[in-house]
Each structure stands twice: as C-alpha cells, then as structure tokens.
C-alpha cells in the first residue's frame, strides 16, 4: 500500500509537470499581424536573404519570406535577396547568369555567411552573431516590429530613360545621437532564371527582391550629423545612376535604410518602386 501511495504521488507530480498543447489544423496563422500604426512613422523591418541559384534549400527560404510579407505586408517587411557565395557562382547553362554583386559578396564575407540560406534581420546582433537560420526569421521579425522607430524615410525617385535620380528625406521622431549611415540599394523583382529546388532544376523560377547594386557603395555614406533630435530632417540625394542593361525598370525598386555605424543595426528602412 505504501508503494502504491508513492507511485500515485510520483505519477501526479510527473503528470503535473507534463503540460501538453495539442494543436489542431489549420496549423498556419490565418490572420495578418496588425502593425502598430498609432504613430504615423512606425518601425519597418529589413530581411536580408542570402541565397544562390544552386542552393537547393533556398526556395523554401524564399517561401518563408513570402509568407512573412503576407503576414506583415510588403510595405512593412522589406526583403532583399542577396546572391553570394559558392551557390551563386555562374555555372553551365541554365545556371550561367551571374546574380552576384560586389556589395553582396562583401556582406557575405563581413557577416561570415557560410551556410545558405541564411538571413539578417535589421542586422541585429544576437550574442555576437548577426546570422539567423531561416527558422528564426519569423520570431525575430515579430520582435523587431515591436521596436519603436527613430525616424521615417521618404523616397522620391525620378527615372529619365535609363538614368535614375532620387531625393530621400529623413524625418527624425526621436533622438539619434550616434554615427549612422544611409544605404541605398536597387533591387529587382520577377527575374525569370534557373533555380535548383528539392524537386529538381526549375528553369523559369521567379526571382524576387534581387539585390542589383548598392547605389552608394557597399557601406553607404555617413549621415551629415551625428546627433538628430525629434523633428529634425535631413535630405540625401543622388542623380544619374545608370541602370544595368538587362534590368527592367518596371520591376525595380529602391531600398533605403539607415543603420548604426558601430552595431550595424538598422534603425529604419523603406522601399519604393522607381516607376509609378
């Protein structure tokens, strides 16, 4: 009887430890996550997806990026697909196209990307490591949307034939008292080229958010000041940027972000198509 009592008590203790959550279908969240837009200027999030056309697991990461933009809206979650490393190297047809960029390779080297797919979310540094496995993108992005924006970015592009100019306005809504840089990228959607997938090679894969060029260099340019207060504004512009010969203007967008020079953390990001 004594044994039985002990077993019963032990079982009750064990069962009390054993919490189980049984989830029923549908297993995916079906609602969009509302972004707090109480303030006119709210935090937007940058996802840098390091990828390659011969990377067999990369299409799954593209799909996760797509799912996340459906949840948060493509105006709020801004994705750049950065083709770099071994899997992005041009090979025999149909993998002979070179998606790589100087800036993309520089980023892959600087952040230590060795495995693909791999991501950076707002370039936040978690315990000394910037890199995020694709399984951590969702939760990290969710946390970043809880952050408060320091500034808003407005992009006004002006395309003349194949030369692009733009005026970029920064509107600060809280203090930024550290050296920061502005980075301007041009990205392209809907590029039809080959991609390796788990189901085999797909020759007409649709590549989106492809980084084409860092307009103002790999690490952008320093903001004119190192101390901005709520209400301050800054204007940065560039002109006569020559588009690539095989780029399609209607598919091009400018991504602009401001980041902390020391930590590399992205303070705010914005994207705008270069044509209406």
């Amino acid at each position: 009887m004594k044994i039985l009592n002990i077993i019963i008590i032990a079982s009750i203790i064990s069962i009390s430890l054993l919490s189980c959550d049984k989830v029923d279908a549908p297993y995916k969240e079906e609602v969009e996550k509302p972004i707090d837009t109480t303030n006119k200027i709210h935090k937007k999030v940058l996802l840098e997806d390091f990828t390659g056309h011969k990377c067999i697991n990369c299409p799954a990461a593209h799909e996760i990026g797509h799912d996340l933009t459906n949840i948060y809206g493509e105006d709020n979650l801004i994705i750049a697909s950065i083709h770099a490393g071994f899997y992005a190297s041009p090979q025999n047809a149909p993998f002979d196209y070179d998606f790589r960029t100087v800036a993309g390779s520089d980023y892959a080297n600087f952040f230590g990307v060795q495995n693909y797919p791999m991501g950076l979310v707002d370039r936040i540094n978690d315990g000394g490591d910037y890199l995020l496995d694709v399984n951590k993108w969702g939760s990290t992005i969710a946390q970043q949307f809880n952050e408060t924006a320091n500034l808003g970015i407005t992009i006004n592009p002006n395309l003349q034939v194949d030369k692009l100019s733009a005026e970029i306005k920064l509107q600060f809504v809280s203090t930024v008292s550290k050296a920061a840089s502005i980075q301007i990228w041009i990205v392209e959607d809907s590029i039809i080229k080959a991609q390796t997938t788990p189901e085999g090679d797909v020759t007409d894969y649709v590549h989106n958010h492809v980084l084409r060029k860092a307009v103002n260099g790999t690490w952008g340019e320093n903001l004119p000041a190192t101390n901005y207060q709520n209400g301050d504004e800054e204007t940065i512009s560039f002109s006569d940027f020559q588009l690539g010969s095989d780029w399609v203007a209607e598919q091009l967008s400018l991504i602009v972000f401001v980041y902390d020079n020391e930590s590399k953390r992205v303070l705010q990001v914005e994207e705008k198509k270069i044509t209406n």
Partner: protein, 571 residues
C-alpha cells in the same frame, strides 16, 4: 611551437602540484583536464591556403574539471577554453570560461543537485543530457535535479532547467525550458515473493516536457511539448532483454520541417551470453523523434533526447570512414552481434584459442504515405505524412556486415583480422544530394609482436575498396610500444582512388559524370608519453577529411596538416 611546449610543461607541473594537495581533513579535491591544440599549415594539395587559415595558425580546445567532496556534499566546476576552436568544431564554441558549475548533496534517500548536471531516463529516447568532448557536444541541464530512493528498489528522478547552448546564457524566451520525471522500479526488491527469483525485472517510465514560447508569426506552435516512455529490463542468468517505447506529441520544428504529426519510437535489445559465447540482437524503429530545447535549432546542439545507435562503432580508421548518423525523422534498424571463443587446444583454436565476432547492421527508411492528394510528404504546416507503427520503407540508409577474428599465435605474436562490407547512403546520412550510395569493402590486419616483457611492435595494414566517393584507400601503421611509458608510431593513409584517378557518378539529372580525385598520401608521425594519470600525445602530419560519429551523433572533420598535441590528466 614554443608556446605549446611551455604550456604543456606548465599543465604537467600543475597536475603534479594539485595531486599533492588533493587530500586533507577538510575534504577531497579531484579533477581531470585535457588540452588539444593544433598548429595548422597551408597545404595546396588539401586546398588549405593561408587565407583559409586566416591567421589562426594555432587553435586549442581544453577543459578542466575540479570537484570538491566533503561527506555527503560535493561541488564542482568545469572550465572550458576554445581559443579559437579547432577546425571542424562549431565556431560558436569560441570563448572560454566556466561552462558548468554545480553543487550536490547526496544521502541514501535524497540526491539533490543544483546547477549543471548530466542525466538520462532509460535508454535516452526521451531525455539524455551528456557531454562528448570529441564532438564538441554538451547539452547539460542548468537547473535542479532531485533523485529520491524512498525504498529499496525504487528510484524517482525529477529535473527542471535549461540546456547549454555553447556560451549563450539563458534569457527569457531564447530557448525552451525542460522539466520531467522518471521512475525505476526493481520488482525483485519491491516484492518479497520475487526476492530470490533468478528472473530480475525492472520497470520504468519517464516524462519530459519542453516549454518554449510561440513567437512565430507563421505557424501555430505548441508551447508545451511532452514526450513519455515506458520500459522494461528483464534478465535471467545469461539472458537479458531491454525494451523501451517512446511517444512525443506534436512538435513542429526545424528538423521535421514544421510538421504536426506525433512522433514515436521503439528500441529493443535481447542478448544471451555464457562462457565463450555471446549473442546480441537489437532493433529500433523511430518516426519523427527529433526533440530539442529550441525548435528552431538544427545541428548538434540542444537535443533533449538521444536515439541509441544500431551500428557498430569501428576502431580502425578505414573501417570507421563511413559511420552511421542517426536519422531522427525516421529509420528502422536491426543489429546482430555474435561473439564466439573457439576453445583452446581445439583444431581451429590452437594452443591459445581464437575469438570470432560477426556483426550485422541494417538500417533503412520507414514507410511514409501522403495524408492526401494535395499535400506533399513532409510539407511544413501540415500533419506531414502518415506512417504505420513498425513499417519499413524501401530506401537503405546503411548496412554493415563484418567479421573479426583475434588470435594469439604464440607467446610473441597476436593477430587481429577483420573484413567489413558497408553500404552507405551519402545522400541521407551526409545530406549530399545527388551523391551515389557508397559500397565499400574494408579489410584490416593488426599484428602485434611482443619481443621483451615491456616492448612490442604493432603493424596494422588495411585497405578500403569502393568505386564511389573518393575511391580506394590503403593504410598502414607501424607502432612501437615501450609499456607503460612510451609509444612511437608512423602511419600513412594513401587515397589511391583507382587506376585512372576518376570516379563516375550519376548526377541529379541522371547523367553519368566523371570526377577527378587527386591521389594523395596522408602521412603522420606520432609519439606518446604516459606517466601516472598524465598522458601526452604529439603528432605531425596530414589528417584526411571525414565524419566522426559517437553514438550516432556526428561532426564533419576537415582535412588538415600540421602539428598536434593532446595532454590528458586526472588527479
């Protein structure tokens, strides 16, 4: 080199000093440490360049355990240093500090540990916290462990904590919290009627649960995931039977591609032994049993459970070239090992007898069927697939049929010879899509000659024959032992591939392609010195690229060239 030599001397002297101080009336201090360091040098034939070494020409892994005991109380720390980690170890290990610290109070009834601890429930199918230095793996739990022995024959365990993740200290929601309990009942002690029985029975059951917040915006994730198991050990004379069944509720994670199917597994092992004869049979069937403290983590970290391997662990280098790595998403495995000692003075056994071992392992997929016409097997955000308990699939993952004999020929000579036929599914085991399955045959002869009481020479010759991967290998080692202090060895592994130096394989699109493999020698010289509990091992030469597995958990070992030192000691 001078730094390493100096460090070795300091560590050696330190061990001697501690030994002298280790005991007094205020308690007892004991400990152990190991240092592995390697100096890397460029080798164009191995593709190792200065830029790859990147200035980190010397790398070191080291640990030291210090344990203090006084009566029922004990406490300890484990210091580790990876400055930087040796090539092939996870770069996240870089750093140094006290990785573990703990205090324990143990009496006959209660055994309480706070801090870091290692523990296992049953075979480990639902929970095993352990450390494996050669893999750079440590999933110790930082928390509380309570073990109760309320009566003879009953052991109850409870654990609660978080698992080690390299050097990351636990922060809210950055990984899961695990908690669980386990009970062991030795019926022969619990029931008087069984006290004298020759049949010994132990029943056990365990439960473990992980809490991890759902921060993911895509999936509806279970925040509490539980796994339980029931087991039985039965023995009668030389007969022994161990079996355990484990079940895990929906646990969408990075290993199973975020599917919501329950997992389950069965492990059973039967053995019989008597003088000169032993037979062991084991079987394992697992389905979706990968279980980690952090559902987003892949690779060798944060495993809550351990899935016992059903493949022989080879000790000879070429035999161990294609080791099996457990596939937590599903595998069906059997293993049989027969040991027989041919009696002395028999026709086959000769004057000294002869040992014979036959081993057979066969591991393959389990059968998975789609849940409907529109959902691919394993598709994320679905149930994943359906599978019948104990179903067996068509794809062979691994097979090893091996024979080994050991025979003392006369009072000077001893021979060990083995032969293994190995099938190795590189696509599944290493994740190299498009690689051909490896069919390899490996033979080994190991001849020892003792010519004085303390002096012996050992010569090992082995060959691996395969048409796949890197082709054929020949390996030879000559070792001189001056027991128990010194040994010197010279070894060469030669990857002679085949006559043409080309390997044919079928690419993903079905085309046959040729791959050129460079014929290379991997020579190494080594020497070892042992004094008491301290051992120093020095080696210089090339190390081939490969996979190192311990208990079905593996890490890739990159090729390297350089000088290596290993120092181990305990006090």
């Amino acid at each position: 080199m001078r730094i390493l030599a100096g460090l070795s001397i300091i560590l050696f002297l330190f061990s001697q000093t501690i030994q002298a101080q280790s005991q007094n009336k205020y308690g007892q201090v004991s400990g152990s440490f190991q240092l592995d360091a390697q100096m890397y040098q460029p080798d164009s034939n191995l593709g190792i360049t200065d830029s790859l070494i990147n200035g980190k020409t010397v790398r070191m892994n080291a640990f030291g355990n210090i344990i203090y005991r006084l009566g029922n109380f004990s406490a300890g720390v484990r210091y580790e240093a990876y400055l930087p980690p040796m090539a092939g170890f996870d770069s996240r290990l870089e750093g140094h500090g006290f990785a573990n610290r703990w205090a324990r109070y143990k009496t006959g009834i209660i055994d309480l540990t706070v801090g870091n601890f290692y523990e296992q429930f049953g075979t480990g199918m639902i929970f095993r916290a352990y450390e494996e230095w050669t893999l750079g793996y440590d999933n110790s739990v930082d928390g509380v462990r309570l073990i109760l022995n309320p009566m003879k024959g009953m052991t109850i365990k409870g654990i609660w904590g978080t698992q080690r993740y390299f050097w990351d200290t636990y922060e809210k929601d950055d990984r899961g919290i695990i908690r669980g309990g386990d009970i062991d009942l030795f019926l022969n002690d619990l029931f008087a009627s069984m006290n004298e029985s020759k049949t010994k029975i132990t029943l056990g059951a365990g439960l473990i649960s992980r809490y991890q917040a759902d921060l993911d915006p895509i999936y509806k994730l279970p925040e509490n995931v539980a796994s339980w198991s029931g087991r039985m050990n039965l023995s009668h004379g030389g007969f022994f039977w161990l079996t355990e069944y484990a079940h895990k509720i929906n646990d969408p994670n990075a290993i199973n591609n975020y599917i919501y199917k329950d997992g389950q597994g069965l492990f059973s092992s039967v053995s019989y032994s008597q003088k000169g004869f032993g037979l062991a049979l084991s079987a394992k069937w697992i389905d979706n049993m990968g279980f980690k403290s952090d559902r987003t983590v892949t690779g060798d970290a944060l495993f809550i459970n351990f899935l016992p391997p059903n493949a022989k662990t080879h000790s000879y280098s070429l035999s161990a070239m294609y080791p099996y790595a457990t596939q937590p998403n599903g595998e069906a495995a059997i293993q049989a090992t027969l040991n027989y000692r041919v009696p002395k003075k028999s026709k086959l056994g000769g004057k000294y007898g002869m040992g014979i071992e036959v081993n057979f392992s066969h591991i393959r997929s389990i059968e998975k069927t789609a849940i409907n016409d529109t959902t691919a097997i394993g598709e994320s955000g679905t149930l994943g697939y359906e599978s019948q308990f104990l179903s067996i699939g068509n794809e062979v993952y691994f097979q090893d049929l091996g024979f080994e004999i050991d025979k003392k020929i006369n009072k000077h000579f001893k021979l060990i010879a083995s032969a293994d036929w190995i099938k190795y599914n590189m696509n599944v085991i290493e994740g190299h899509v498009g690689e051909a399955d490896v069919d390899a045959f490996v033979w080994v002869t190991d001849l020892s000659y003792r010519f004085k009481r303390k002096h012996s020479i050992r010569w090992e010759l082995s060959q691996l024959l395969t048409k796949q991967d890197q082709g054929n290998w020949l390996s030879s080692t000559l070792e001189y032992n001056f027991a128990p202090t010194w040994f010197f060895a010279i070894m060469d592994q030669y990857n002679y591939v085949n006559k043409d130096g080309q390997i044919s394989f079928e690419s993903e699109n079905g085309e046959v392609q040729e791959r050129d493999i460079k014929k290379l020698h991997y020579p190494t010289i080594s020497a070892g010195y042992t004094k008491g509990t301290t051992r120093v091992l020095l080696s210089y030469g090339r190390q081939r690229e490969g996979i190192l597995c311990v208990g079905g958990v593996c890490r890739a070992v990159p090729s390297s060239n350089g000088f290596k030192i290993t120092i181990t000691s305990s006090f």
